[in-house]
């Protein structure tokens, strides 16, 4: 019989050990525990409007992640210089700068994505996830933590949009990232790419996540 390689203490695993350190926790919380879409239910305007395909959802999510991370870093750097009275205006100015950069970047990368996202790129400025993190986190924490928080929240937002966008694109168009995944004669559920489909899919995911959380809470 081989001697046990592990100690008899309960194995916590790499990720949960990592999660115990504060920096990792700031990153992980946005992905799951405080997910902006499914837990905080913030930023519903882009969530419902541009999640009609997986491509749109992921590009919107990544654009938001970039703006969120960069603005978190800059706001955190300037947190001791910005007067309390004009902080919101300053945050919006900083966020708008990065949104403009993102806007031109997307135009340079793919004009098609830019067209399909439309006005919602410019509307990242008033995304409440970004303003919320600036006010609630970046203005009170160090640059490093703010960076991790922005990245985690942004990727969590991307994950949420991806979940919704996948369902809507597969059912509404029979495709996944513009690749045909359903048979040719698949009957498209037109409602899924229309605005009501966004509400239905979001509600369904919220139901699943909430149910999972309640079940977990009941076990503990």
């Amino acid at each position: 019989m081989n001697p046990p390689t592990h100690s008899n203490q309960p194995d916590k695993g790499f990720f949960s050990q990592l999660a115990n350190s504060k920096s990792a926790d700031e990153f992980v919380k946005g992905l799951w525990r405080d997910n902006p879409v499914f837990v905080q239910v913030l930023g519903m305007c882009p969530t419902l409007a541009v999640s009609n395909s997986a491509t749109n959802a992921v590009s919107m999510g990544l654009a938001t992640t970039f703006v969120l991370t960069m603005s978190n870093v800059l706001i955190s750097m300037l947190r001791n210089f910005i007067p309390k009275q004009v902080r919101i205006a300053s945050y919006v100015l900083i966020i708008a700068t990065f949104v403009t950069i993102t806007d031109y970047m997307i135009q340079a990368i793919s004009i098609d994505i830019h067209k399909s996202l439309g006005a919602f790129i410019a509307l990242i400025v008033v995304n409440c996830v970004i303003l919320g993190r600036a006010e609630a986190f970046a203005s009170k924490n160090t640059v490093g933590f703010s960076f991790l928080d922005g990245l985690g929240m942004g990727l969590g937002f991307t994950f949420g949009l991806f979940c919704i966008g996948t369902v809507r694109e597969i059912l509404g168009n029979g495709t996944f990232f513009a690749m045909q995944v359903m048979p040719e004669s698949f009957e498209k559920w037109v409602i899924m790419v229309l605005p009501p489909g966004g509400f239905f899919t979001l509600a369904l995911w919220l139901l699943i996540f909430k149910g999972y959380k309640l079940k977990k809470a009941a076990h503990e």
């Binding site: 359903m182 048979p183 004669s185 698949f186 009957e187 559920w189 037109v190 409602i191 899924m192 229309l194 009501p196 239905f200």
Partner: protein, 339 residues
């Protein structure tokens, strides 16, 4: 020794044996003639659509109740009515898999998610139909002609489309009197409309049998007669006025009342006990709003038929109607003086 319990409840203490399931059974009974006539006119396809929608509605209700570990509520027949009503307002050659999805949506999103029977904001059957209309606009506007010679033995192939696959429409698809009028300006014979010898949804065509069922329910006091009367009167007066002003552009009020799903909607769907107002005055207003919306959508809207959206919209505002028209509490003055 059994535990003694003292039930403390408000009046009424003496109850007549008129429970939910008794009423619901009679509603099913009242729907039967119109449904049977639909099968007679459109054949086996209509029968299959109505059966599928009923079976799946009941099954969804049962499974959802099992899922949340509650006693099943299929025995109150309300799910069966929802399913049957949905089947009756679908085209007779509607694919069965779409029918099944519509039934599941009706029960799950129209009723269960709000808390079951008695808590639904909208008429569940119409929620399902609205979903199907938005999801599959092509299939739900494909009509079959009435009185096909082989209708009892030859089921349209679209009915048996593979799940999630597009139905193949065989032959020429017919038109409903409403779409014929809207898009081609063809008026139907009033006699055909009243009797139901025309195209349309599986169980909505026969005005006579629907009226019979409605009168039976009203006579048994299981249906608020004010709602259908109010809806039909409003449609009659409003469209009559329009017809009087410009007879070439607007159809006759008789056509408006008897064509399409107005009879089915006014008698069996608008009268949903949960989604309609509770006061008598409120009910008159409720019916009038439905009637006005039906005429507005039919005459000036993009769709040929507007009963579904009219009822759903008015369902949404029915609590507000109740709030605005609040009866005076017995024993109080008309205007309470500010103390």
């Amino acid at each position: 020794m059994p535990k003694l319990t003292l039930n403390i409840s408000t009046s009424p203490h003496v109850v007549k044996g008129l429970s939910t399931d008794t009423i619901m059974k009679h509603v099913v009974l009242a729907l039967m003639p119109a449904a049977a006539f639909g099968v007679y006119v459109f054949g086996t396809g209509a029968l299959l659509v109505m059966l599928t929608s009923t079976v799946f509605a009941v099954a969804t209700e049962h499974l959802l109740n099992r899922w949340i570990r509650k006693n099943t509520t299929v025995n109150d027949y309300s799910a069966a009515i929802t399913g049957l009503l949905l089947g009756m307002c679908l085209p007779p050659a509607f694919p069965l898999w779409m029918t099944a999805i519509g039934s599941a949506i009706s029960i799950a999103l129209g009723k269960f998610i709000f808390g079951g029977l008695g808590c639904n904001v909208f008429n569940p059957a119409l929620v399902g139909r609205a979903f199907l209309q938005a999801a599959f606009p092509g299939a739900i506007t494909t009509w079959t002609d009435p009185f096909k010679a082989d209708r009892f033995f030859n089921v349209p192939s679209s009915v048996f489309a593979w799940p999630f696959m597009s139905p193949v429409v065989d032959g020429v698809s017919g038109a409903t009197p409403l779409s014929a009028f809207k898009f081609d300006h063809v008026n139907s014979q009033s006699y055909d409309l009243v009797m139901g010898f025309c195209g349309g949804s599986a169980g909505e065509t026969s005005a006579v049998f629907l009226l019979l069922g409605g009168i039976y329910l009203a006579w048994r006091k299981m249906l608020n007669w004010r709602i259908p009367v109010s809806v039909l009167l409003t449609v009659l007066v409003f469209s009559g006025t329009m017809h009087f002003l410009d007879a070439t552009r607007y159809p006759s009020p008789v056509f408006m009342v008897f064509a399409g799903g107005l009879m089915l909607g006014a008698i069996f769907m608008a009268t949903d006990m949960v989604a309609s107002p509770v006061t008598s005055t409120g009910v008159w207003v409720y019916g009038a709003i439905i009637g006005i919306l039906v005429v507005l959508i039919r005459l000036w809207g993009g769709l040929p038929e507007g009963v579904m959206y009219a009822i759903l919209l008015t369902n949404a505002i029915s609590p507000h109607i109740d709030n605005l028209i609040r009866p005076r509490v017995y024993g109080t003055l008309k205007k309470a003086k500010a103390s």
